[in-house]
C-alpha cells in the first residue's frame, strides 16, 4: 500500500478530508452533516494518513493521544450540558448568543460546543482503534 503515489497524495488528501470534516461539522445544524459524520470523516483521514505514512507520523501530527481527544470531547459535551444549569434552565437546554465580530453576526451556542464534543469523541475513539490496529501491522 505504501506506493509512491499514495504516499505523495496522502498528506493532501488528509488535509482536505480534515478540512471537509470541519466544514461538515459546522454546517450540520442547517444542512446534512454534524459532529458524528464529521468525526467519521476525520477518523478516515487519520486512517489513510496512517496507512500511507506510518502511525508514528500521525501521532506526531495530532500531538495528543487520540483517546485524550476523545475524553476531552466527552468533557466538552458534558460541560455544554451543564452550562444550562447555571443559566437556570434544565440540563442540556440549548443556549444561544449572537455576537457581531468584524461586522458579521455569528450564531454561537452551547449546542455547537456539544457537537464539537461529539466530533472529538468519534475522531478519538475510531482513530485510536484504527491507529492501534495499523501499529500492530508493523511490529
Amino acid at each position: 500500500m505504501r506506493t509512491v503515489i499514495f504516499r505523495s497524495i496522502a498528506p493532501f488528501l488528509t488535509s482536505l478530508m480534515v478540512l471537509f470534516s470541519i466544514f461538515v461539522l459546522l454546517r450540520g445544524h442547517n444542512e446534512p452533516g454534524g459532529g458524528f459524520i464529521g468525526g467519521l470523516i476525520a477518523a478516515s483521514a487519520l486512517a489513510i494518513y496512517g496507512i500511507a505514512c506510518g502511525v508514528a507520523a500521525v501521532r506526531r501530527a495530532i500531538y495528543f493521544h487520540p483517546m485524550a481527544l476523545s475524553a476531552f470531547g466527552l468533557f466538552m459535551a458534558t460541560v455544554a450540558g451543564v452550562l444550562s444549569v447555571f443559566a437556570s434552565v434544565p440540563f442540556m437546554s440549548g443556549l444561544w448568543t449572537y455576537p457581531v465580530i468584524f461586522g458579521v453576526e455569528l450564531a454561537l451556542s452551547s449546542v455547537l460546543v456539544f457537537d464539537v464534543g461529539v466530533y472529538l469523541v468519534v475522531v478519538g475513539a475510531i482513530g485510536s482503534i484504527a491507529l492501534g490496529l495499523e501499529e500492530g501491522d508493523r511490529d
Binding site: N30, G33, G34, F114, A125
Partner: protein
C-alpha cells in the same frame, strides 16, 4: 443553641467529612498531636446536639432537612428525638475521646493521617444512620458505615488476617444492608411514606399488611447482621484485627449498635406482634449465651471483650423483643451503660497492649503499681459491666431483672439465660480488669509503665461518666433514658430506677448473679479448658462456614463463566445471531402476524434498479469471493449501494453516515484481518458452512420481515410534524436530524458518545494486550489451530 437553623445542623452533620478531608494534611503538619485538633469536630457535634436536649426532654421531636429528589419524594432529612439524640451524643462524645486515644495509640505510624480520615468518615456515616429520617438516606449511611468499617478493619492491609476479616465484615454487614433496603422498600410500598417520622403513625397498617412478615424478615436480616446476632456473630470477633481504637469505637460502642438502633426505631411499627416477640428474644437470648460462652474460652483481652460485646448485643435484642415498658427501659439503660464501659475496657485493653507489649491475659499480672490510672479506669468499667453499684451498669441490670421476672416457664427460661449470661459477663469484666493488675508482677515483652495522657484520658472519662450517670440518676433519666424509652415505645415513658436497692425478685436475682459470677471466676481456668474441648469436639462453626460459602461461590462463578464464555468466538457469534433471529421472527410466528408481500412498484426508475443491481452484485461477490480481502471489499460495495438508496429516497444524513461507516468498516476489517494473521482463504468445513449459512439466512429473513411489517403500519406523522414545526423555532436549526441529535435528545447523545469512548478504550486495550503477548503465547496464533477454528471475521 436549641432550635438551631437547619443549615447549622446540616453543616454539623457534614463536619466529620470535612474534618476527614483535612486530616491527612493536618497529620503531616502536627504528627499525632493532630488528634487534639481533630477531636474538636466530634466535640462540636456533641455541643451542638446537646442544645436539643431540653426540647427533647420535654417530649419534643425536631425534624428538618432539604428536598433531595423531590420527584420521588426522597429527602435529606433528619429526626431528632430521644432515641437519636442519645445515639448522637454517644457517637460524638465517645468519638472525641477515641480520636484522642487514636493519636496516642498509633503515634509514629506513618499511616496515621489515613487512619484519622477513616475514623472521621465512619463517624459521619454513623451520625447519619441514627439521625436519618428518610429511608434512603438511612440506607446510604448504613452502607457507608459498612464500607468505612471495611477500611478500618483492613487498615493493616499487609496482613492476610486483616484482609480476610475486612472482607468478611463487608460481606456480612453489607449483605445485611441490602436486605434492609429491600425491607424498607416493602414498608414504603405498604404505607406510601418514606420518612420514619411519618411512618410511626402507620404501625397498625404495617402489622395488618400481608407483607408484614416479608418486611420483618428483611429488616431483621439487616439488623441481625449489623449487630452480630447468632449465627451471624462470627464477623465481630474477627474484626478485632483492626487497631484497638477501631474495636473500641466501631465494634463495641457504636456501629454494632446500629442494628439495635434500627430495631428500637422500628419497634413502634413492626413490634408488638407474636413474631416480633418470639424471634427477637430467641435470637437475642441465644446470642447472649453463645457470646459469653465463647468469651470464656479466649485468653486475648480484646477477643474476650469482643465476645462479650456479641452477648451484650444479644441481650439488647432480647430486651427490645420483649417490648414491655420495663424491658425497653432496661434496654435503653443497658445500651448507654454498655457503650460507656465497653468503650473504656477496650481502650484499657489497648493501653495494656501498648505499654506492656502483650494482651494475653495469662501473661499479664501485677500492673497495678505500674499503671495506676489505667487500673482505676479498668476497675470502674468492670464494676459497671458486672452490674454492681454505684455504676450505671447496676441500674441497667436491676431494670433487666425487673423487666424479665415473671413466673411462667417462657419468662423463667429467659431469666435463667439472663442470669447465666450476666454472671459470665461479670467474670469476663473482672478477668480483664483484675487479672492483669493483681497478683505477682509478670515479666512482659515491654517493661510496663503508665501511658501518655492521650491514652488514659478516654477510658478514665468513660469510667467517670458511668459513675456520674448513676449518681445523678434523676438527671440522667430526665434527659437521656426517659426520652429515649419514649421514642422506642412510641408513647411517653418515665424511667425511675435509682441506686437505692428495692427488695424484690430483681435484687435476689442480682445477688444470685453475683454469687454465680464469683464461683465462675474461681473456676475460670477449668471453664476455659472445658470450652476449648467442647469447641474442638464440634469442630465446625459459622466462621468456617463463611469460608466454605465463599469458596463455593467462587467455584459456582467459575463454572458459570466456563459455561457462558467457552472462549470460542464462533459459538458466541452463532448464539448471538440466533437470538437476534429468534427475537425478530419469534413474535411474528407466535401471533401469526406475517407481513403481506409488497407489490412490485410500477413506477420504479431505471437508476433505482441499477442501484439495487449493484447491491445484489456486491452480495454475490461476497459469497463467491475466493479470499477474505475480496469478500470484505465486496461487502463495502453492497453497503455503498445501500447508502445510494438512502440518498435517493431523501435521507442525505443517513446516506452520508452510511458512506463513512462503510469506508471505515472496510478499512478496519482489513486491518483486523492482517492483524490476526488469518490465512487469506476461508477453510471452514461444509458442516460448519451450512450452519453459518442457515443462521445468516434466518437473520436476514428476520430483518426483512420485520422491516416489511414496520413499513406496512400506518405512518404516524406526529413526531415528524412536531420536529418540522419546532426545529427552527426552538432549536434554531433546519437540519432536523442534527437538531434531534444535539438538542432535542442531547442527553441521549451524551450517553451514546460516552459508550463510544468506553468501547474505544476497551478495543484499544484488547489490541494492546494482543501486541504485548504476541510473542509469548504461541497457541493464540490462529494459523496453528485446526482449520475449523479460524475465527470468523464478520
Amino acid at each position: 443553641m436549641s432550635a438551631a437553623a437547619p443549615g447549622t445542623t446540616l453543616l454539623v452533620l457534614m463536619l466529620p467529612f470535612l474534618a476527614a478531608l483535612i486530616a491527612p494534611w493536618l497529620t503531616r503538619r502536627l504528627g499525632h498531636n493532630a488528634a487534639w485538633v481533630l477531636a474538636l469536630a466530634p466535640a462540636a457535634i456533641f455541643i451542638h446536639f446537646l442544645g436539643f436536649a431540653g426540647e427533647v426532654a420535654d417530649g419534643g421531636v425536631v425534624t428538618g432537612g432539604f428536598a433531595w429528589v423531590p420527584s420521588y419524594n426522597v429527602s435529606f432529612s433528619w429526626l431528632i428525638d430521644g432515641l437519636s439524640l442519645t445515639f448522637v451524643l454517644l457517637i460524638s462524645g465517645i468519638g472525641a475521646l477515641i480520636m484522642l486515644y487514636s493519636g496516642g495509640y498509633l503515634k509514629g505510624n506513618d499511616q496515621l493521617g489515613r487512619f484519622f480520615s477513616f475514623m472521621l468518615l465512619f463517624m459521619g456515616a454513623m451520625l447519619g444512620v441514627v439521625i436519618s429520617d428518610s429511608f434512603l438516606m438511612l440506607f446510604v449511611y448504613w452502607e457507608l458505615t459498612s464500607i468505612t468499617s471495611f477500611l478500618l478493619i483492613g487498615f493493616d492491609h499487609t496482613r492476610e488476617a486483616s484482609r480476610r476479616a475486612a472482607i468478611q465484615a463487608l460481606v456480612v454487614t453489607g449483605g445485611g444492608g441490602l436486605a434492609l433496603l429491600a425491607g424498607l422498600l416493602v414498608i414504603w410500598n405498604i404505607t406510601g411514606v418514606s420518612q420514619i417520622s411519618l411512618l410511626l403513625s402507620y404501625g397498625d397498617d404495617v402489622r395488618a399488611s400481608p407483607f408484614y412478615l416479608l418486611a420483618l424478615f428483611l429488616v431483621l436480616g439487616g439488623a441481625f447482621s449489623k449487630s452480630a446476632q447468632f449465627p451471624l456473630h462470627f464477623w465481630l470477633p474477627n474484626a478485632m484485627e483492626a487497631p484497638t481504637p477501631v474495636s473500641a469505637y466501631l465494634h463495641s460502642a457504636t456501629m454494632v449498635k446500629a442494628g439495635v438502633y434500627l430495631l428500637m426505631r422500628l419497634n413502634p411499627v413492626l413490634g408488638d406482634t407474636a413474631w416480633w416477640e418470639t424471634i427477637l428474644p430467641v435470637f437475642g437470648g441465644a446470642t447472649l449465651l453463645v457470646g459469653t460462652l465463647l468469651a470464656i474460652r479466649q485468653t486475648d483481652l480484646k477477643l474476650m471483650l469482643a465476645y462479650t460485646t456479641v452477648s451484650s448485643l444479644g441481650l439488647l435484642v432480647m430486651l427490645t423483643g420483649f417490648g414491655s415498658e420495663h424491658a425497653i427501659a432496661a434496654a435503653v439503660l443497658y445500651l448507654v451503660a454498655h457503650s460507656l464501659f465497653k468503650g473504656a475496657l477496650f481502650m484499657v485493653a489497648g493501653l495494656i497492649d501498648h505499654e506492656s507489649g502483650t494482651r494475653d491475659v495469662t501473661r499479664l499480672g501485677g500492673l497495678r503499681k505500674a499503671m495506676p490510672i489505667t487500673f482505676i479506669a479498668a476497675i470502674a468499667a468492670a464494676i459497671s459491666m458486672a452490674g454492681l453499684p454505684p455504676f450505671v451498669g447496676f441500674l441497667a441490670k436491676e431494670e433487666i431483672y425487673y423487666a424479665l421476672w415473671a413466673t411462667n416457664p417462657w419468662a423463667l427460661s429467659f431469666v435463667a439465660v439472663a442470669v447465666v449470661g450476666n454472671a459470665l459477663m461479670f467474670v469476663i469484666g473482672f478477668a480483664v480488669a483484675i487479672k492483669p493488675f493483681f497478683g505477682p508482677e509478670v515479666k512482659t515483652p515491654k517493661s510496663a509503665h503508665e501511658g501518655p495522657v492521650l491514652l488514659w484520658l478516654g477510658p478514665l472519662t468513660l469510667g467517670i461518666a458511668a459513675l456520674l450517670a448513676a449518681l445523678v440518676s434523676p438527671f440522667t433519666h430526665r434527659f437521656i433514658s426517659s426520652p429515649m424509652a419514649s421514642a422506642v415505645a412510641g408513647k411517653a415513658e418515665i424511667v425511675t430506677i435509682s441506686l437505692i436497692p428495692h427488695l424484690g425478685p430483681a435484687l435476689i436475682l442480682s445477688l444470685v448473679t453475683v454469687a454465680l459470677g464469683v464461683i465462675f471466676y474461681r473456676m475460670l481456668d477449668q471453664l476455659r479448658a472445658g470450652m476449648v474441648w467442647l469447641l474442638s469436639a464440634i469442630g465446625w462453626g459459622p466462621d468456617r462456614g463463611f469460608d466454605q460459602l465463599i469458596a463455593g461461590l467462587v467455584r459456582l462463578s467459575v463454572a458459570v463463566t466456563r459455561f457462558v464464555q467457552p472462549g470460542r468466538l464462533e459459538i458466541y457469534m452463532t448464539v448471538t445471531f440466533l437470538m437476534v433471529a429468534a427475537a425478530l421472527i419469534g413474535p411474528m410466528a407466535w401471533y401469526g402476524e406475517w407481513p403481506a408481500m409488497p407489490v412490485w412498484p410500477a413506477d420504479a426508475q431505471f437508476h433505482e434498479l441499477v442501484v439495487i443491481a449493484i447491491a445484489f452484485i456486491g452480495l454475490l461477490a461476497v459469497i463467491y469471493a475466493r479470499d477474505r480481502l475480496t469478500a470484505i471489499v465486496s461487502l463495502g460495495i453492497q453497503g455503498f449501494a445501500l447508502a445510494l438508496i438512502f440518498m435517493l429516497f431523501g435521507a442525505p444524513d443517513l446516506a452520508f453516515t452510511q458512506f463513512m461507516v462503510e469506508t471505515l468498516a472496510v478499512v478496519i476489517l482489513a486491518l483486523v484481518m492482517t492483524r490476526l494473521k488469518l490465512t487469506s482463504a476461508d477453510h471452514r468445513p461444509t458442516g460448519r458452512k451450512l450452519i453459518d449459512l442457515s443462521v445468516a439466512l434466518a437473520c436476514g429473513t428476520g430483518f426483512m420481515l420485520y422491516l416489511m411489517a414496520v413499513t406496512q403500519q400506518p405512518f404516524n406523522t406526529a413526531l415528524s410534524e412536531f420536529f418540522s414545526a419546532y426545529s427552527k423555532v426552538v432549536a434554531h436549526g433546519t437540519n432536523v436530524v442534527n437538531v434531534i441529535i444535539v438538542d432535542f435528545r442531547g442527553t441521549d447523545t451524551l450517553g451514546e458518545i460516552a459508550v463510544v469512548m468506553v468501547t474505544g478504550l476497551a478495543i484499544l486495550s484488547l489490541i494492546r494486550i494482543r501486541s504485548l503477548r504476541a510473542g509469548e503465547i504461541a497457541d493464540n496464533d490462529p494459523d496453528q489451530l485446526g482449520p475449523d477454528q479460524n475465527g470468523k471475521v464478520n
